[in-house]
Subunit: 491 residues, 2 copies
């Protein structure tokens, strides 16, 4: 997708998260926020977002867009194709902001509001061009959670919805277009219902904030991360299905299982009670620390869901595929064939380290395996080649673990072609801590071309052998590393 | 923990899940359910549970307990130390069942009820020994979700609560003792609030069942799997913390964001609407298929949370540690030192396979790395040894990938000691598809003893070298495999 100029109006946690997501996807962002602290705050969100995004995708990210701060709404929105409004939840304020935006904004551009509760028809009241305004409601952390609720409202312009879908899918999100406007859209209605009930439970002394969190995260929270409400219940109903489940649990609707509409008095005593319990529960960790834990867990959960892929993991898998295609499209021309090829980089993820804080043995081969994949794509063995019934398998590997590396460190791999014939390719990878850094490990690999249907060795196809010959000509001037062709010695 | 006789009264999805969890933890289970289909149903749940449990823990499971079916409550509960009641949610039925149980049950045993909604004081009404009955409310799938709400009620016996805690922690659960009884305990109050709101959204045509599920699983569901409600909001409040968050969102409590107490008419039209939408959403997959997807996703999410460990991942990590200790405690005497050591097994997990359905290259080393860990524990290099400031690192590895293997297949690894000196250990692993099956891969590894503080090689400590000498004496009669000491050849 082409780079789009993005304006972010309001630079709090949500606006900052949007700015980071857009910039990390390669779009240039202009921010307007009168808060003199906005720059520092967005910088902190961006640092979290960059670390998490690099961990989430096993693919190179595009060159990031710029984030610049403007002194007025007019300057921020000039030339923008999308405006994301994330100011406080006050309707009069939002109306004033839209009036100012629409004085300058390109009529083809769209304004997305991060509002949690207002209906689009309320936002559009009195606007110069009501159809230009839609709800685009994200979820914190904006740079990691894929969901964005798009609500056009009765006066919405279908082109605005289409542009929202295209732009936001392109930055790795899952746009959910809400067919009928309603206070709080969809997701926040559930959050609100749970929040009210939770306040009652704390106020009545039934449970503390920590016990409530545990009741969620050790139980149904794990279900909801993947299937939501109805599909979970469908499965629970067993072979008899949804009707059976409903027949069984329908009657409970009439029982006094929730306080619900009966809103607790939101007085200082309740605020003190909850804030005090929350301090007891989480106060031993700083917010920055909790943010990192949250982000690491989210990355881990998203990657677990990517395995199928399923739900949010599907969104991540699709975006990762796009990132890889973009990256390889530009790579071919850039490399100097007289040197080992710098085709792969990675970051040491939290789940890659053992209890000592060092990267676990098998993750070295994980990184080398990804480097081999990058090399294969580079020589033209892409999905189309594999679809033709030929693939290439690693048949032998020799690893030398030279040094340890800690969580969060950057890994940089270069690849040298040692030899090839009609069926085989022999390569070495060298892994360094950052480009030009200390050598961490080396990998020597023998790859064999395979006819995947017949399940036996077969010749490599012509475009690939030609590409290999080209690289071999370049790499012929390089000496083979001294560790190549060595065996493990007896003791 | 000693094996306990468990009685499961009521063998539906929940009772079956309990039976499977107890049996897979090594307890013998007696089931009573008058349904002639109960045996088949529990067999299906057990098959799912066994596959999921083997995938969840990177540790050998204990020999499973038996599950037998009895013709009466009296026969099922005779000799039991714990009775899990999971009959239908009808108070009169539960009272009749408790009366029958307490005619036979050991006075020291405890009855845990799976009830979603009844308070313990209601369950205890008219019982011969009210203090013997507690709520022990699990979450489906019982064999994977760690949460169990323990509610003793005002007449509960503290010894019953203590026994519930000990027994249920011992089968890998997270017991949450609820301090004050209330209809629907804690978690189901939230589920009920969300369920009511969701019924309204479907009835009013605001969203379909699929859109509601997506609004949960692409957004806040991912947050709730790890932190729950309050800690998530604490982080969202940023440095200003919980008070700031509450000040910002408190007012929304008064807004019309939910229908809540206003219960929708639960008529046939609503059931048809929801069942129809659910068919459209999920009907292309059977319940069995959805169960497997759900379980695979839960295993993946739990393993992602195990990396820190955090939340439910902490429960899994603690149980895994217990399983390993149990397994190694019995292993020493069992092995024949004249043969390669069968110290490690694993199952090919869904996230271990690539798009071709084969185990990915680096997972072979993952399994060999775990086999090396098992070998190190076997020779006495346990946590206590490492705590002494010495560890052992793999410095060189030679892998041969001989054959492919698909998801779900069992892997069996044997380990042969090729040599050792005062600082080094040289081993080979052979990976087969099941015990005695076809060879999938071989791994030759050189390990080096390291002083972890000084960061350099150091001699192995005496108990370990003695153990190595013992194994070497046994393995000296074995020929070194022909692939050992080989290098990758040039082409």
């Amino acid at each position: 997708m082409a780079r789009t100029r993005i304006a972010v109006i309001g630079g709090g946690v949500i606006g900052g998260g949007w700015a980071a997501r857009f910039a990390l996807a390669g779009h240039d962002v202009a921010v307007y926020d009168p808060d003199p602290e906005a720059g520092r705050k967005i910088g902190e969100v961006y640092a979290n977002a960059e670390a998490a995004t690099r961990r989430l995708y096993v693919a190179p990210l595009p060159p990031p867009g710029t984030i610049r701060f403007e002194g007025s709404i007019a300057e921020a929105v000039a030339g923008a194709g999308w405006v994301q409004e994330s100011v406080s939840e006050r309707l009069d304020l939002k109306h004033r902001v839209y009036a100012e935006i629409q004085e300058t904004l390109d009529p083809e551009a769209v304004i997305g509001s991060s509002t949690s509760g207002f209906k689009p028809s309320e936002l559009q009241q009195g606007a110069r061009d009501p159809g230009q305004i839609v709800v685009a409601h994200p979820f914190n952390p904006v740079y990691l959670l894929p969901l964005v609720e798009i609500v056009p409202g009765p006066d919405g312009d279908p082109r605005a919805v289409e542009w929202a879908r295209t732009l936001l899918s392109g930055v790795g999100m899952h746009p959910l277009v809400v067919r009928q406007e309603i206070d709080a859209h969809i997701a926040d209605r559930f959050l609100e219902a749970v929040w009210r009930e939770a306040l009652w439970l704390v106020k009545d002394g039934v449970a503390t904030t920590e016990e409530i969190d545990d009741a969620i995260r050790y139980g149904f929270g794990l279900r909801w991360a993947q299937m939501g409400l109805f599909e979970t219940y469908r499965v629970a109903g067993g072979e008899a299905g949804m009707r059976h489940f409903m027949a069984q649990f329908g009657p409970a609707l009439k029982w006094p299982w929730t306080k619900l509409m009966d809103v607790p008095e939101f007085d200082d005593a309740l605020v003190d009670l909850i804030a005090g319990q929350s301090d007891a529960q989480s106060g031993h960790r700083s917010i920055r620390e909790l943010e990192r834990i949250r982000d690491d867990n989210l990355v881990g959960i998203l990657q677990a869901l990517k395995a199928k892929p399923w739900g949010a993991g599907e969104t991540v898998a699709a975006h990762e595929k796009r990132l890889r295609e973009l990256s390889f499209a530009g790579a071919e021309a850039a490399h100097d064939l007289a040197r080992p090829l710098p085709l792969h980089g990675a970051t040491v993820l939290p789940e890659w380290v053992d209890y000592n804080g060092h990267m676990t043995e098998f993750r070295y081969l994980h990184v080398f395996g990804d480097a081999t994949d990058a090399f294969l794509t580079y020589i033209g063995m892409d999905a189309a080649y594999m679809a033709g019934g030929r693939s290439i398998y690693t048949v032998e590997t020799h690893l030398r673990h030279v040094a340890e590396v800690r969580e969060g460190r950057p890994l940089h791999v270069t690849t040298q072609l040692l030899g090839h014939d009609d069926k085989r390719v022999r390569i070495v990878h060298v892994m360094r801590e950052g480009e030009g850094g200390a050598v961490l490990a080396t990998g020597e690999h023998m790859l064999l071309s395979v006819d995947t249907k017949a399940g036996r060795a077969c010749p490599l196809a012509a475009p690939v052998t030609e590409r290999l010959a080209e690289i071999a000509a370049g790499h012929s001037a390089l000496a083979a590393p001294d560790f190549a062709g060595r065996a493990i010695r007896s003791i």
